[in-house]
């Protein structure tokens, strides 16, 4: 999974850096000056974080670790990669280039009449309701938020995903959103020695329109994913760092998917039930990526949006009113903004579903959701935060770390079942290394109290985050994760102003000459609360923190321009692979001079610290 040709990258990098240095020269100088100071300090003064005995500078450590990951794509090199993932986490932590704040907690409640499997950290929207039953009813009723589309290659939101997932299927999937990959439409897979060619044997399955599933259907469906102008996830199939299926490009055609030569994708139907895929570079997470919604099977020629097919329906119809998958449920109807319904598909290749139908009422207002729930109109639901009472939860952790128990009583007097799962998502505050020197970053970590944040901001509905990689996919499992958390050096779960003060004074800041910086958040209550809390906490420290709120898009644009100092963002994993989050830490890939065209890391400018020490 080689992301970029690093030698040419570095060349561009330097050239561009010289051009831009004029504007930000002071900031860079500052960072450089205090960083060297702190290197000794951070390890000597705080003892704890020097535990790994690593002498090299964290940015260099992260860069090396990422290169190790890239150079070891083999299946049996998993240990080497896992070690490198942990090294990246250590580098991020020790350098405090990014402060993880919380993992989203997905909660779901259901009435006793419902019998439904528990879901895993990939989210309830991944759950196919094949085995779900509702006592005394043939229909499962749920609440959904605004859906945008029914076309698997166009969907990017979980609301659409929840419905699409009942109708469409992939080669492999994560049953119930758990992290174990299982076969869905595939019986077996053969991987070539060079790890580049995957040969899949398909199961017998039928589409909702009556056609039999063949390898050609996958060839077509993935061509759509790459070539259709409506595709939102072409990069998952051909992007470097994602699956990276081999393909030809025509540079004159334009940017992104638009310049793929039609029918050049290296996906071939050997015979009706054999599918061959060739990657440009080995990718240990290839099968995981194939579980993503967009790779779903669609009958060949069903939609008209790629070259060589007239289509039975046009893309607009396909995204709004007609579906044809192999899933256990087929589309009954979707009325935008109101409701969607799917009904059982009797010719399903597996055991047909117990339920006759699934109905989603689309409601977004908290009050309306709460009313609908208390009327007993939803079988399976979440409780909107304003109505959530932490003391109503009576749950215990099971062996995978999920909270299982009961919640209640609701307003209607009923007590319902409760499940709380930490999602594979991380929301964080990060720094731009060019603008914010390490002692300041570490001081912010010292005064951050994760527990307090969860309590104040989320009514205790959230999981504290001490690493970027969520616990549910930590290399080495739950215990290894716990070890990492135990080593957190910045006074976990307390506001340690003392340590922060010492750090800042040693770095030469004083109340008369404080470090000035701005935290930029987008329109998100949790982050705004974090910003407010942090500003209060550094009020008597030599940091002069101002708060700024922007639109989400503005935040992104400014991040790409390297124009953020301290900002908040989140990352959500669509499949279980740490590198799908860690590529953004490769210091050379965080160069905002190159983002977004030639680099796609987080807005850290971490490369500026590569050769400091």
């Amino acid at each position: 999974m080689v992301r970029n040709d690093s030698s040419s990258d570095e060349r561009i990098n330097r050239r561009r850096f010289l051009q831009a240095a004029g504007g930000s020269a002071t900031a860079v100088a500052l960072a450089g000056c205090f960083d060297s100071d702190d290197g000794e300090d951070g390890d000597g003064g705080n003892g704890g974080n020097g535990g790994n005995g690593d002498e090299e500078n964290p940015a260099r450590k992260a860069q090396n670790a990422w290169e190790t990951i890239e150079e070891n794509p083999d299946e049996d090199a998993e240990d080497i990669r896992n070690e490198a993932y942990v090294e990246i986490e250590e580098a991020v932590r020790d350098d405090m280039i990014l402060l993880p704040l919380f993992h989203n907690l997905e909660e779901r409640m259901w009435y006793d009449r419902v019998d439904v499997a528990e879901t895993g950290p990939l989210g309830g929207h991944r759950q196919q309701h094949n085995d779900t039953t509702v006592e005394g009813s043939d229909e499962l009723r749920m609440i959904n938020s605004q859906m945008t589309t029914l076309d698997p290659i166009q969907s990017t939101d979980t609301a659409s995903g929840a419905v699409i997932n009942q109708m469409y299927e992939n080669l492999v999937h994560y049953p119930n959103g758990e992290t174990e990959l299982e076969n869905q439409l595939v019986e077996g897979v053969d991987v070539s020695d060079d790890l580049l060619t995957y040969t899949f044997t398909l199961t017998d399955a039928q589409f909702h329109n009556g056609e039999e599933l063949t390898a050609d259907d996958f060839v077509y469906a993935w061509r759509r994913l790459v070539e259709s102008p409506d595709s939102q996830r072409a990069n998952f199939a051909i992007g470097a760092g994602f699956l990276g299926i081999e393909h030809e490009v025509d540079e004159d055609e334009g940017v992104g998917a638009a310049n793929v030569v039609p029918d050049s994708l290296a996906v071939e139907a050997i015979d009706d039930s054999t599918l061959e895929v060739t990657l440009a570079n080995p990718d240990p997470a290839a099968l995981d990526i194939l579980a993503y919604d967009s790779f779903a099977a669609v009958p060949e020629g069903f939609v008209d949006d790629i070259e060589g097919y007239d289509g039975e329906v046009d893309q607009q119809e396909f995204s709004t009113g007609t579906a044809a998958g192999t899933g256990p449920f087929e589309l009954d109807g979707w009325e935008p903004g109101t409701e969607a319904r799917v009904t059982r598909f009797d010719d399903y290749h597996g055991e047909p579903a117990e339920l006759e139908s699934i109905h989603w009422q689309i409601i977004e207002d908290d009050n309306a959701i709460w009313t609908y729930v208390n009327e007993g109109n939803a079988d399976l639901f979440e409780i909107p935060t304003p109505f959530y009472e932490p003391e109503n939860v009576d749950a215990e952790a099971d062996d995978t770390g999920r909270e299982v128990g009961t919640y209640g009583p609701l307003e209607n007097g009923e007590t319902v079942n409760y499940l709380g799962v930490a999602e594979l998502s991380t929301f964080y505050a990060a720094f731009n290394a060019r603008h914010v020197p390490r002692p300041v970053r570490q001081a912010i970590a010292y005064v951050t109290d994760h527990d307090e944040l969860i309590e104040i901001v989320f009514k205790e509905r959230g999981e504290t985050a001490f690493s970027f990689t969520p616990p549910g996919m930590w290399p080495g499992g739950e215990d290894a994760y716990q070890d990492f958390v135990d080593e957190w050096p910045y006074s976990p779960n307390e506001t340690d102003r003392q340590a922060a003060q010492e750090l800042l004074e040693d770095a030469g800041y004083s109340d008369d000459d404080p470090f000035e910086m701005t935290i930029t958040t987008y329109d998100d209550e949790a982050f705004q609360d974090f910003a407010g809390l942090t500003r209060d906490k550094v009020a008597d420290l030599p940091i002069d923190l101002s708060i700024e709120e922007t639109e989400f898009g503005t935040l992104q644009n400014r991040g790409e321009d390297g124009d953020l100092e301290f900002y908040t963002l989140g990352w959500i994993w669509s499949w279980v692979d740490p590198s799908y989050g860690h590529f953004g830490f490769e210091p050379e890939n965080t160069n905002t001079e190159l983002i977004p065209e030639e680099a796609d890391g987080y807005y850290l400018d971490w490369q500026t610290e590569l050769d400091d020490e």
Binding site: Q146, T148, T149, D151, Q154, T156, D157, P229, D230, Q232, A234, N235, G239, G254, V255, G256, A257, A258, Q315, Q316, S319, T320, E335, P336, G337, T338, E339, Q361, I362, I363, E364, D365, N367, A368, T371, Y372, N374, E375, N377, N412, T550, E551, F552, G553, T554, Q556, N557, E560, L569, G570, W571, I572, S574, I595, P596, E597, D600
Partner: protein
Amino acid sequence: MSRWRYFIKRTLLAIPVLFLVMTLIFVILRMGPLDPVASLLGPEASGAQAEQIRENLGLNDPLWRQYIDFITGLLTLDLGQSWAVYSGRDVLDLVYIFAPRTIWLGFWAVLLPIFIGIPLGFYAGLNPNSWSDYIASFSGIVWLAMPNFWLGIMIIALLSQTQGGGFLGFDWYEFGPTTSSVLGTPPLDFVGVTDWTSLGMIAIPTGLFFDPGTLAVAIKVILPAALVLGSASMATELRIGRTAILETINSNYVETAKAKGLSGRVIIWKHVFRNALIPLVPIITNEALLLLGGSVIVEVVFAINGLGRLFYLAAVQGDLPLAGSLIFVFAVITISLNVLQDLLYTILDPRVGYEQ
């Protein structure tokens, strides 16, 4: 200037206003801080993807071309497709799906106040400074003062407590046609066309069906929301109705009628009510406009997915074609209602146009 020339002048003036509105829409939405690409892609966006989407949406075209495309699109009713809220759906389809709900809500929100507010106001006006006048006027003011979002939540809370027979003494869910929720989108498929006959170029409906059961449900579902949405106008109508009655009752022609020996009944029905209604007509047309804008909150609270809610989403997510088209639709409705108002004035009031 004759009053008809005045009317035509007013109507022609609407055209530059419309252009100004379209230009403003374009400037505000296109040049503003909203980024449709960001809302499409979410936090996992990469730069290359964003660039491709910009290209697909035509956001990389020169501004003047985007402007011309936008204006011609609106004028030819080729409203384009939604970008973000319902990617790929025709805006016209969306308007067709969402508008009837808002119109249904608006219809009842105008009708309810007329039938409650005006009679109450007239009653208060006919019995000035009595206890019943005080009670009607006072409760009107209190009603006016209650904000819609609060009133909506209160009504929902009250009605949902009645499930299985509550303290109100009746079960709203069982009252009239049975419904499963106090909120939601009313079913508007109670009338429909079953057959079309084509007469050359024009298709005319020849078969109609009508389902009174569904109509009853549709009315029941909309009533609480309409009551809330119409609450402010109800109070206004009450107050203005009362004043209008008082003014009319004390006018000379009523005195004359009394002097002629007409019975109180005839005076009130023939002279007082008809004349008191005149100042209420523009009030009601203006209310129709206010309701259009004010429906967002009520639609959200009652989970009625109408134009208000759709517009809110489009605006927040930077869906330029959808938000632009909806503002355009609102603007066209507003301008036509203004023209209609001018027409009514022209017909009703002979003094219009003789301003010198």
